[in-house]
Assembly symmetry: C2
Homo-oligomer: 469 residues x 2
């Protein structure tokens, strides 16, 4: 057991050699009596969950961080409202965020109030006051991440990495999936080709209910709302806008670009029908609402939110109910997929606690996003195989006209599918293309929709990695 | 834009308030001229990949870490052997590990030579000499993690967290999947109920080829060997022993226990037949070789490696070819699944680079494993639904005898399945049990195998989350 023959002298020598090289300079030791004092702005579902976890795991976290983590103050809207969690020992309630923001006693401000107005003030003022910030606020991050990063840069100007103020927002995207941390820690030596994610729990729950359980769109939405999966305004979910906010954040992390949300092509699930699931089944897969961003051949980055066909052999295809998933394709790691809970009290609170613990441990996000300044620009155009469903009234010449219009715009047809007709009124067929640009598809669809045999609007969506090619 | 009205005075005030509280004490600033000097022991597949990534991403990593990361020396077996990668600028080759271990110029030693003899010396001596260590060595970690942790504790005794020597081994389990980092960073506030993983790429490749492509066991193994998925001694793969090593490490991280590998029940894939896949299909799922560890009701921890039935709706069921996956069930996060490449040059090298970057950034693993000292003990007994296949020669009384023996040991039968017989010689039927203990199953199987109508050994395996219950 020679390994244990470590004398004090050898340790000192090793330590001196190490310090001499000046790689990790000596700093004042944190004593074990230090505490990390937390102020939480927002005493609701997530704030309560954070308190519960920090109380339950207090001894363990103290051992892990060599610091006690103590919730000193919670800012709530209404001091008299009954709470569904126990206020931690020694923690005061206030209804003024400034009590927390201006307190010399608070090290970490946790913003879990939501919204983008007061919450923005809270985050910026906390950072200005030299407090670390943890937030679960997706809307705020989607709106202001670049602005917050600029502010953080000013706050940290002249500070060493060890002394820098940290800003962590793991819970802001996909609640319990550590996707922010992973994009910051697991890909610095890698190049991300594509991110594709099921990043809205409400719509995934609805699509699962429609596909697996045969529910109507309306019944699925009602069920999702009842279970608390839908936003107050469900248009944010079913229209794809919540997914788009998250995709914007993921694109910032993966490619260092700050894309205007409204520039990201976005199609919701409202036009999906049982017929599409029938066709998806006959193609051997299913349909999920995905947020997709990818590096194009010229270095530009494209992205969109849309229902997409995915093969049954694809890991994303078995991600059901309100579960989220993010898949990252990259040069080194090839394909990595993270599946987990995208929302809910404890998954979200757990991510906030991880952010607090990272701060207590002194972990440093030197850069809050992938800083590769490779001039990546966002473009709306991307190439894909597409699925196009047309409702029609039968007549002579349909196939010829489809062929002519596709040919006109360089859209090569892979196959035309037609399931046995269930009703004369609901006749439809599907064109599956080869890989073409969405720009050309748009033109094809617009021209087809102008033909007299086409009934109502066409529905079209990308095919993620066709397994028949 | 009031957020930007941050005056120097307000920043100073904030900084003073912050320092006054003594939470993150000031330390000497790292200057941007600092370099993190790396010595790599092992110039093979992984070592070469690390050099390539560090060279390719040099500018980016310097910006990220405020440090340049430079490979200063590589220790190789044969100095004259041609390499399939470019030796980084300013990097020397040596065939003596001591040149790296004793160099005052090296901050981080990366051990990618493999094995458990010299590699163990390298790791222990590097730590003794005050060098951070990164390793991709699964066998070493499985054998010696607890010993290394003890050694590290001595090396770091009296050091502040910031000055402590780091030991990172992300690549040692599931190559490119950041499962070690995740277990260390994402679950400190959580309690892990179960880990279930496809943690051996060779066998998953073989089972996929047998199930999806109809290959024989022998053809599948030959193909896996040809593609480099099999260990030099494939028994380590097909016997489940490689998976068991990884499971042992995961149990250390999840539960803080150090289990003797030979105590973990281990069944390989050698007894699996096409018949089992037929039955799995008729049950609606498939069969994967899993490593499973779970918290039992009495707080004890059980674990095993075995082929397991899993439902098609389960995310693990679509993890095919050499891809790995780890699923973690926990109180807060519910179920989280990580899917990715378990081996290969760039996935493994990428994980090593992440470990190096974390050290360069100054991230601290205060504790290298879950330190919850809750007295968890490993037990071989666990409860599960089981699948039991028996080959038989037909006679009267089979059902009665099965019923009697199961009843004798309290094993409740959920169903008896019998696919249409393909050949008189290969008759088999399957018993699916309710949830019972493996101990009782063992007794049932032993007694059944003694009956004259049972042909050859029985095959039995756990059912992971039966979807029919």
């Amino acid at each position: 057991m020679k390994y244990f023959a470590v004398t004090l002298a050898s340790l000192l020598a090793a330590s001196e050699a190490f310090t001499a090289h000046n790689f990790k300079p000596a700093s004042l030791s944190k004593t074990s009596l230090d505490a990390v004092n937390v102020g939480i702005v927002g005493g609701g579902v997530v704030g309560g969950g954070i308190c519960e976890i920090l109380t339950k795991k207090s001894d363990y976290l103290t051992a892990l961080c060599s610091d006690t983590i103590e919730v000193k103050s919670i800012c709530v809207r209404d001091l008299d409202k009954p709470r569904d969690f126990e206020i931690p020992e020694g923690c005061s309630l206030t209804d003024k965020a400034d009590d927390i923001l201006n307190s010399d006693d608070i090290d970490v401000v946790v913003e879990v109030m939501g919204g983008t107005t007061i919450a923005k003030d809270v985050v910026f003022n906390a950072l200005s006051n030299g407090k670390h910030v943890v937030t679960a606020n997706k809307a705020l991050i989607a709106d202001c991440l670049a602005e917050i990063e600029d502010h953080l840069k000013k706050v940290n100007d002249g500070k060493s990495a060890e002394d820098s103020i940290q800003f962590n927002y793991e819970a802001a995207v996909c609640g319990g999936i550590p996707i922010i941390n992973s994009l910051q820690s697991d890909f610095p030596g890698d190049d991300i080709d594509m991110i594709a994610g099921i990043i809205n729990g409400c719509t995934n729950f609805m699509l699962t209910a429609m596909d697996r359980d045969g529910l109507s769109y309306e019944a699925a939405l009602a069920e999702a709302s009842k279970l608390g999966y839908a936003e107050a305004d469900p248009t944010l979910d079913v229209g794809g806008f919540d997914a788009r906010s998250k995709l914007k954040i993921l694109m910032r992390l993966a490619y260092g670009i700050d894309v205007e949300e409204s520039n990201i092509p976005c199609r919701g699930i409202q036009e999906l029908t049982a017929t599409d699931y029938d066709y998806a089944k006959s193609l051997g897969g299913t349909i999920k609402l995905l947020g997709v961003a990818q590096r194009e051949e010229d270095g530009k980055v494209s992205g969109f939110v849309s229902p997409c066909y995915i093969a049954a052999t694809d890991s994303l295809s078995s991600v059901n109910d309100a579960t989220n998933a993010v898949e990252i394709s990259s040069s080194n790691l090839q394909r990595t997929t993270y599946i987990g809970q995208g929302a809910g009290r404890y998954p979200t609170a757990n991510s906030c606690v991880n952010d607090i613990v990272a701060i207590a441990k002194g972990d440093v996000n030197v850069s809050p996003f992938n800083p590769a300044d490779d001039g990546a620009k966002f473009v709306q155009q991307y190439d894909s195989v597409f699925y196009l469903r047309l409702k029609y009234s039968d007549q002579v010449g349909i196939t010829r006209q489809c062929g002519e219009i596709c040919e006109k715009y360089g859209v090569s047809i892979h196959s035309i599918l037609q399931n046995p007709r269930s009703s004369k009124k609901d006749d439809s067929f599907v064109i599956v293309t080869e890989e073409v640009s969405n720009t050309n598809m748009k033109k094809v669809v617009a021209e087809l929709e102008g033909l007299d045999w086409v009934q109502g609007p066409a529905f079209w969506m990308p095919v993620l990695r066709p397994d028949w090619m």
